[in-house]
């Protein structure tokens, strides 16, 4: 067992700065992608509730397609595929867009479930006491939806963070790719991939623990 840990003593000081830098890249990638996913998910959720049948249909098809297509295929299509028809992304941009497109569907579904969890009587009561529909949504509905949706939203962020490792396969310089490069250089794949796992765990676990604390018990 000491044999397993020995390389950390020998190379730890060389590895640590590389891993820390890569961890920050992974965090930057995940946060950018999640921010875009929130915006796209909100738009998608508006489509789902739109009075226009075309938009509702589009949202339904979008969610189904995204549920059925792996992120890796989307990333490859964006990064390697689209240049074939003249659309070129840099690796980081393709990764942010691909992650956001896939996770927007999850965000929209969460928002839908959240809105469904608020009884219709809430909006009716707000209107009855003289709120405008906009006020009723902003002051009565939204705060309650936010409370219900917060915990699963954090879970979604953790999924996105983990899936951001796939960006390494389209050459984004993040944690998983740094791990591969280091494994080739030092030829200590076990120790290095375990260290990479620890780095992911260090960012993901606090969010997982937070989501459990914020979870609203099902009624």
């Amino acid at each position: 067992m000491t044999g397993f840990f020995a390389p950390y003593g020998d190379y730890g000081s060389e590895w640590l700065p590389l891993l820390v830098k890569a961890t920050f890249n992974t965090a930057a990638l995940s946060v950018s992608a999640f921010a875009l996913a929130l915006v796209l998910g909100l738009l998608l959720s508006l489509c789902q509730r739109s009075p226009f049948a075309v938009l509702r249909r589009f949202a339904a098809v979008y969610v189904t397609v995204v549920r059925g297509v792996p992120l890796l295929a989307v990333l490859f299509l964006l990064y390697f595929g689209l240049p074939g028809i003249g659309i070129v992304f840099d690796a980081f941009g393709a990764a942010v867009l691909g992650l956001a497109l896939c996770f927007a569907a999850q965000v929209a579904e969460l928002l839908r479930a959240g809105l469904k969890a608020i009884p219709a009587g809430q909006a009716e009561a707000a209107l009855a006491v003289g709120f405008t529909p906009a006020q009723s949504f902003r002051l009565i509905i939204l705060p309650q939806v936010a409370r219900v949706v917060l915990s699963p939203m954090i879970v979604t962020f953790v999924s996105l963070l983990k899936d951001s490792s796939l960006a390494s396969l389209i050459t984004v310089d993040e944690l998983a790719l740094t791990g591969r490069a280091m494994a080739t250089e030092y030829f200590l794949p076990l120790q290095i991939y375990v260290a990479v796992g620890v780095c992911y765990f260090a960012i993901a676990w606090p969010f997982s623990a937070l989501s459990r604390r914020l979870a609203v018990p099902a009624r």
Binding site: G68, P70, L72
Partner: protein, 219 residues
Amino acid sequence: MADLNLVTSVAQGLFAGVGVTVLVTVASLAVAVMLGFALALVRQFAGIRLLNLAIDAYCEILCNVPALTHLFILYFGLASLGIRLTSMAAAVLGLGLIGTAITCAILRAGFAALPHGQAEAALAAGLTPLQVISDILTPQAMRIALPGLGNYAVQLLKDTSVVSAIAAPEIMFFARSMVTSSFQTTLIYSMAAALYLLLSLPLMQATRMLERRYGRLKG
């Protein structure tokens, strides 16, 4: 425009990977559901503190680190210790062990959702604790867990695309190797995405049917 010959040859190339994709999905699902069920039972009913702690730690570690990193540890990491897994074995083991943590959480939530009165009434009626678990609690918990397990199965099918990174010859692997020889990136990756969609749509439909058939608890 892509001509028909090209489309059929790409389709044939991709179909070569369908068998492995389905095999990895089914095998990992079997591992995940069996082990996850066992862990959920132990965690929920055995009441051995050390064991509970170990199961919780297992779930946290498996759920907060990307699949890609786990696969690299199993495939490249263990090889450096002299334990050489084939890419298929590493794929099934990796996805199966991650899935164990996921299904364990889903099933535990199923057991936790049952009212205490169920077990109490069954014990009072003279059933042994083992009978209570197997005849009264498990069937109900399974029904509650069904939508979650269905979602997991669809997610798993998509996640098998990741095992192309350790050279398991599934759909994405053939897509990537065809790209290096034909450069038809746009066509190949869109067709790969469509093929995954084609595989996951029936799975989604099946889970919806199962949910409708068994998902409702009859009051």
